[in-house]
């Protein structure tokens, strides 16, 4: 099993590629670490999203695993690009920036394939392992299995059959993205298959970008909500199954699968595709939610610019919306408790 890690910061990162190159993919989460001072402000403006600033704080403060060989940053938005800029020369770990097309299509897949080839070459140079289709195939299968196990756990959390609910689920997800996938899979297999107290609380649909703090999910549920469905970067988007790998070349297939994921706010649907607003309405209706909670980080342009249309689409669908703006600290979410409680009361 690998012992060296590659840090990453975006759910679009091709984890099987990192794993097949001999690394443990390690999500650098912007989770609350009050002892880490604000160091990012010296390089990046205060108006950048707290996710990248907190990650940069952690890097500059040396708050990363000692065995971190490199960082893979996906160019998914302005803030991520600026993070990569600030890391170069300031991070002890090496940095690789991966371009990500803004929408799908054959040319985009072809381009992303080249990006993945270059990333593979770089990762293999870091690890000293030669690129291997067989290893990549195994890693894809492993991550598919892990994603499937987490999906099943998510179903249990949704059904109220998981002790600790969505908080416990998030703890498992966080472990799965910071530890060897083999270990996480084994742990998930060992977990008791029964638990929870059944479906309790008002069903809500949760969407947004980052909400990785276990306590944050616990807080939402403690306000009387039951998360009936979610679409969050650090939740169900974090690990998504790619499906069985084909017999042919894997990188073009991997590129295609990456771009075929349901689009998050930074990704535009292909011509004629549904916009974020429609996807949120679909997601909420599919899970039977009575209301929708958006958790969006401050200064996140892709979400901020699309929220008004999401709001309108939900209004048209008679689905109430509560928008929580976060800054990657629990403190900010704690301040929202009263609003969440009032929202749930209104839905009840």
């Amino acid at each position: 099993m690998s012992t060296e890690r590659i840090g990453y910061t975006c759910a679009y990162t091709p984890l099987p590629l990192l794993h097949a190159a001999g690394f443990i993919p390690h999500r650098v989460l912007p989770t609350s670490a009050p002892q880490i001072p604000d160091l990012a402000g010296a390089y990046l403006h205060d108006n950048l999203c707290p996710h990248v600033k907190r990650v940069l704080d952690r890097v500059l403060a040396g708050d990363l695993p000692d065995d971190l060989t490199g960082l893979v940053i996906v160019n998914s938005c302005d803030a991520m690009r600026r993070l990569a800029d600030a890391l170069v020369g300031r991070s002890a770990a090496q940095v690789a920036l991966v371009e990500l097309p803004v929408c799908g299509g054959p040319a985009a897949v072809e381009f992303l394939t080249i990006e993945l080839e270059q990333l593979q070459t770089r990762l293999c140079a870091w690890s000293g392992l030669p690129p291997s289709e067989d290893r990549l195939r195994q890693s894809i299968a492993l991550y598919d299995e892990l994603a499937g196990a987490l999906d099943r756990l998510r179903e249990r959390a949704i059904d109220g059959r998981l002790d600790g609910g969505f908080g416990a689920l998030q703890a498992s997800v966080n472990r799965a993205v910071t530890r060897p996938p083999e270990e996480s899979l084994a742990e998930l297999r060992r977990m008791p298959q029964q638990g929870g107290q059944g479906r309790r609380g008002v069903p809500i649909y949760l969407f947004g970008n980052l909400l990785a703090d276990v306590e944050a999910l616990e807080l939402i549920e403690s306000c009387g909500a039951r998360v009936a469905g979610e679409d969050v970067c650090t939740g169900s988007r974090q690990l998504t199954g790619l499906g069985p790998a084909p017999d042919g070349p894997l990188l073009p297939w991997l590129a295609d699968r990456m771009l075929a994921r349901p689009p998050c706010a930074r990704t535009l649907p292909e011509r004629g595709g549904s916009e974020l607003a429609a996807l949120v309405v679909q997601g909420a209706r599919r899970c039977g939610a009575r209301g929708v909670v958006a958790h969006v980080l401050k200064f996140c342009d892709p979400y901020l610019a699309r929220l008004p249309r999401v709001r309108q689409a939900l209004r048209d669908a008679s689905l109430p919306l509560l928008v929580l703006e976060g800054d990657c600290t629990l403190r900010s979410l704690g301040q929202h408790r009263t609003r969440i409680e009032a929202f749930i009361e209104m839905l009840d």
């Binding site: 390089y43 990046l44 403006h45 108006n47 302005d78 803004v102 342009d301 008004p308």
Partner: protein, 413 residues
Amino acid sequence: MILPYFENLVSGIETKLRDLEGTDEPRARKRFALEIARLGVRLFGGREPVAWCGVLAPFDLLSAMGVTSCFAEFVGAMLASTGGVEPMLAATEGTGYSTDGCSYHRAVTGATQQGLMPRPDFLVATSAPCTGGLAMMENLARHFDKEMFVIHIPTRDEPDVVGYLAGQLRELVRFVEVRTGRPLDRRRLAEAMERTNRTRELLLEVYELARSRPSPARRRDLFNFGLVVSLLLGTETAVDVARTYRDEFARRVAAGVGGVPGERVRLMWLQNRIQFRSPVEQLLEQAGVAVVVDEFNTVTWDSIDPDDPFEGIARRTLSIPLCRPAQRRIDLLQRLARDYQVDGVINPCHWGCRQGTGMRGLVEEGMRQVGVPVLNLEVDCIDPRNFAPGQLVTRIEAFVELIEDRRGARDGG
């Protein structure tokens, strides 16, 4: 409301230019403003195919295909400069747009909501320079229920990326052909690219002359110039505008006449100017401070092969530092600081701009490496509502004093 504004502007500037005939008075800026006003008439006139675009769209290619195109942010700047932006911003705030977002984009969104933006035939979005701009374009496309072509501009410029981008441009041609019903005329495109190349040569001369000491550029001569002149590329108008500037600057340089009387301090201005009426430029001029270069007033690209322009246009796009890692932008700023012998840099940190303002500290560090101080102004270049001129003036005055003190110490004064 906007069409009559541009029509009045055209007739007003035409009158002024006629009055200047036969005199030695400067006219380059008016010539430029006239062509921009005429572009405004075409955009808002409803008589030609129109495309709202991202900032880095290939305007000469679209022009060669008979499409009047413009980056949408242009409207935000225009609204701010004419004092009409506040109701637009207020409209977006009333419909849930966060004030943390870029006010260029919010102004355009507000104008759209108010029915002031003409319905385009289609849209051409660009992934660079910013994610916020792309989101605004998607919202416009949804609002107008019009198709949008998206150009993905990566941050690398290796041959595979040039080929990828050139391929997207060829695909754009097919997209436009279908929407306009007019096939691309290769001869017309080649002629447009020849005009682009001629404009490029003239702009190089203009910028070379602007480096002179004293600089021939008056305080508003090259204000908003580099980005906006790209809207005219591919046309004879662009050639004429650039030539007018070149000739005017050459005359002034030959006569040793500076654009700012008594030029004592030379500054570089980063990214965008403050678009609404503010005392900044007048204050600078009164203090003998010349903004000798704006970041966008530069040519970063090579000539384009008129007979096979797609790779050349792609290389041009990728040469623009807005698309690239921060270090590429810093390299350019350091070079401009040396070439123009600037004493300092003003960085208006436009609130809501993640891609430019976002790298504030990196830029400051980069300029420090070449011994050039930076004044970071925390402003919103579009929204005048929170503008505090007194504070701004004090900071600029202190910055100029600092520069002069440093110079005095260096010269042993």
